[in-house]
Symmetry: C2
Subunit: 127 residues, 2 copies
Amino acid sequence: MNDDKTMEGEFAFERSCCPLTNALDIFGDKWTLLIIRDLVLGKRRYLELISSPEKIASNILADRLKKLEAAGVITRQAYQQKPARYEYFLTEKGESLGPVLAAMISWGQEHYPGTQLFPAVRQRQAT
Amino acid sequence: MNDDKTMEGEFAFERSCCPLTNALDIFGDKWTLLIIRDLVLGKRRYLELISSPEKIASNILADRLKKLEAAGVITRQAYQQKPARYEYFLTEKGESLGPVLAAMISWGQEHYPGTQLFPAVRQRQAT
DNA sequence: TTAATATATTGCAAAATGCAAGTAACTATA
DNA sequence: TATAGTTACTTGCATTTTGCAATATATTAA
């Protein structure tokens, strides 16, 4: 694996030293920010994430959850053992994507009339 | 081609009626927003766009310019005939992506120390 | 005549995506 | 006890997108 991001100097970045480029290397695709959106709305579990109206494929969801955890944007916590079941949470790095989502949502609402945000999900009771 | 976006009602959107989803359908990939960035920085021509440090392939650049024009985010104007040569410009819809770029750049700078913005390109003299 | 410039297109291999089905470890129901 | 359901994935495979290199076209410059 190319782990250049941990190095110093001019070879420290995958594509370039541009902050936009490095952001796109994390969430520059059609699915990742939708998962972040769902977590912001209060979704926590795999079935909740997979049941969003965009119909993400389960292999893509599993892949993105893995990559987001590796990037430090989300964490997962087991809420039961046997079988192990996990809930996913945004880290501070993930929460700080709020302004990015807000700007994109604002642009979408302005240029695609009829679009509308989904309501937040009710939070489950403590287990 | 699926041209649902011109229809009305509940089938009006490709993936969902979420404004974020519709924004991602336009620029949710690793290259499109880098082209927008370059246009914001003052680049206008194919060779200027292709010479950015991320090294976009020429077929990808041609594809994205076509899609962005179809989406109303950029326009092109011939600056000479024989052979036809074009300059690319952001439309208002494209200019209004400024806050999206700003939020992503801010996030990148915060979480990837060492990244830095490129300087704006000097504008060429009027032909 | 040859080379250089600008804006692409083409061909092909590699990687990512989309879709359906399968798996594992339980839990609930008949 | 047997069957079905739930949750969180994994696997296989076809389609699509991307990455890379080479080629094309029209023109000007040397």
